[in-house]
Amino acid sequence: MHNYLDFEKPIADLEGKIEELRHLSSDGEVNIADEVTKLQAKVDKLLRQTYAKLTPWQKTQIARHPDRPHTVDYLSALIDDFTPLAGDRAFAEDKAIIGGLGRFRGSSVVVIGNEKGADTNDRVTHNFGMARPEGYRKVIRLMELADHFNLPVITLVDTPGAYPGVDAEARGQAEAIARSIETCFQIKVPLISVVIGEGGSGGAMAMAAANCVLMLEHAIYSVISPEGCASILWRDGEQSKDAADALKLTAQDLLKLDVIEGIIAEPLGGAHRSRDATIRAVGEAIEGSLQDLSGLDGGVLKSKRREKFLKIGSQLPE
């Protein structure tokens, strides 16, 4: 049973019909195999059509889909011996960000990702993927650890943004994010970021100043959420659709703007329909990027990372 998005309603109806038919056939002798096959073909066609022309706002909804694989899913499927490391050594452990050591394709890496949580309790535990300063300070600590032991860093970005709260401000949310970006530009090991869902503003930027930034096909990455943008510029949160259009926040837009290096295709119907295939595709993309960066001297990795960002926005396609 899927969680359907609004615009997936026709698909939901068809799949509901298939489900009904299957139910009928199990307690009757009618052979409905042909009918099911026909309907399934229709579903596939509809999916293909719908997903070929998604609007930025629809992509926003897909990027936030609760069934989309989250950081923990990638960790358990792609990373062997994952050993979480906790805390910022100053104040607390922030569960909105998970990070630690592990093996990827046989080699040690440091992996860091935002975790949104799978169900209501889990979401509260992980604060919906919104980190506080201690989260970013943990990121800094882990990146420095990776640098010290010459291990590549992989970050998985999936956050609505940094947590806007009194405690977060009191402990220096802005400073923590700024230092995290700074650390990204200091380390001399390969740094690869994949936006797997929502790349929300500074909270995402804090861990995505990478040598290679990839995005899943229906992920988004933006300076502000469409809702936030709409309420400020249109003074109406209802205009989120228009804001999503204007912000150019889709993976396709960002590739055109040369902000990211590549897009990882999602299976038909989005990552939430085929979680395993999506995770596999992400694994392959990370492997490819790591190979591209392997053998580069630490100083070169660092300077290339900087050069890349300095170029952004200097030449834009018409």
């Binding site: 994010i177 930027m205 804090a206 300076v223 204007a246």
Partner: protein, 307 residues
């Protein structure tokens, strides 16, 4: 179409000049104590209310004037950034908003970069102007800060940045977010050259600006009463559904929470900067430096920022 009102009229005004000083500009009401202050008194007092000490915002130009020796500086021409890279449109076109801001402030964008002497020290100062689209940071501001950093490195000068900004410029979308990364690189270049990087956090310093170059100073100085933080107060209130504590996100609050080195009144700012930088680069006592007559500004030309 507001072309007549937004472009032609301000341009005419600039050509004709004078006229805007109509009597209702002579008196200012202090937004804090609500006392009326005569405009000349206010300017003489560096736009600090003589009644309650409230610091009103300064334009980037006024900021540079009070920091540089004798108010003299050389501003550098900033590379022209792409106007409206995303063809952004909300209720109005971004390109129109830009033109309007340019006409209103006579600035190219929300930043002025200048070099000169401060207490005899060779400094580059980059000041943001809140009246230009809330001092927001887009590609032009990012480019300007990179240019400022490189100018400081070339001249072996200290870099002082004075933010006054609501954060990233939404109308430039992801490209404005990328300025957080780019300005951080600029700061790294200054730091790696062993030159002091000092930030003077003024009202307001929030959002993507505070979460990048503004919070990376070797020494962080906050101006009295300035609002400094990451998330806007309204967003936080909506999230936690509580009233915010008194003095929340003010300079003094940040000092108490260990987020800035000091809170300094505007009248003491220049002297403080001269002393701090003098100590960092280990020149003679500030007093000795100040005694040296101002040196003529003779700076090498800026190297291409895009190399």
């Amino acid at each position: 179409m507001n072309w007549l009102k937004n472009i032609v009229r301000p341009k005419l005004k600039r050509l004709v000049g004078g006229q805007k000083e109509i009597p209702d500009n002579l008196w200012h009401k202090c937004p804090s104590c609500e006392e009326m202050v005569f405009h000349r008194d206010l300017e003489q007092n560096l736009r600090v209310c003589p009644h309650c000490g409230h610091h009103l915002r300064l334009s980037a130009e006024a900021r540079l004037k009070i920091l540089f020796d004798e108010g003299k500086y050389q501003s550098i021409e900033l590379a022209e950034a792409l106007a409206d890279p995303l063809k952004f449109r909300d209720r109005r076109k971004y390109s129109d908003r830009l033109k309007e801001a340019q006409a209103k402030t006579t600035l190219q964008d929300a930043l002025i970069v200048a070099h000169g002497r401060m207490g005899g020290l060779n400094v580059v100062i980059a000041a943001l102007d809140f009246s230009f689209m809330g001092g927001s940071m887009g590609v032009a501001v990012g480019e300007g800060l990179i240019a400022a950093a490189r100018l400081a490195v070339v001249q072996d000068a200290s870099l002082i940045v004075v933010p006054s900004s609501g954060g990233a410029r939404m109308q430039e979308g992801i490209l404005s977010l990328m300025q957080m990364a780019r300005t951080t690189i600029a700061v790294e270049e200054v730091k790696e050259a062993g030159l002091p990087y000092i930030v003077v956090l003024t009202d307001p310093t929030t959002g993507g600006v505070s979460a990048s170059f503004a919070m990376l100073g070797d020494v962080a100085i906050a101006e009295t009463g300035a609002v400094i933080g990451f998330a806007g107060a309204r967003v936080i209130e909506q999230t936690i559904r509580e009233k915010l504590p008194e003095g929340f996100q003010r300079a003094e609050y940040l000092l108490e929470h260990g987020m800035v080195d000091m809170v300094v009144r505007r009248q003491d700012l220049r002297e403080t900067l001269v002393r701090v930088i003098g100590l960092l680069i280990n020149t003679g006592p500030a007093g000795d430096v100040l005694a040296i007559p101002p040196v003529a500004i003779d700076a090498p030309a800026l190297e291409s920022p895009a190399d």
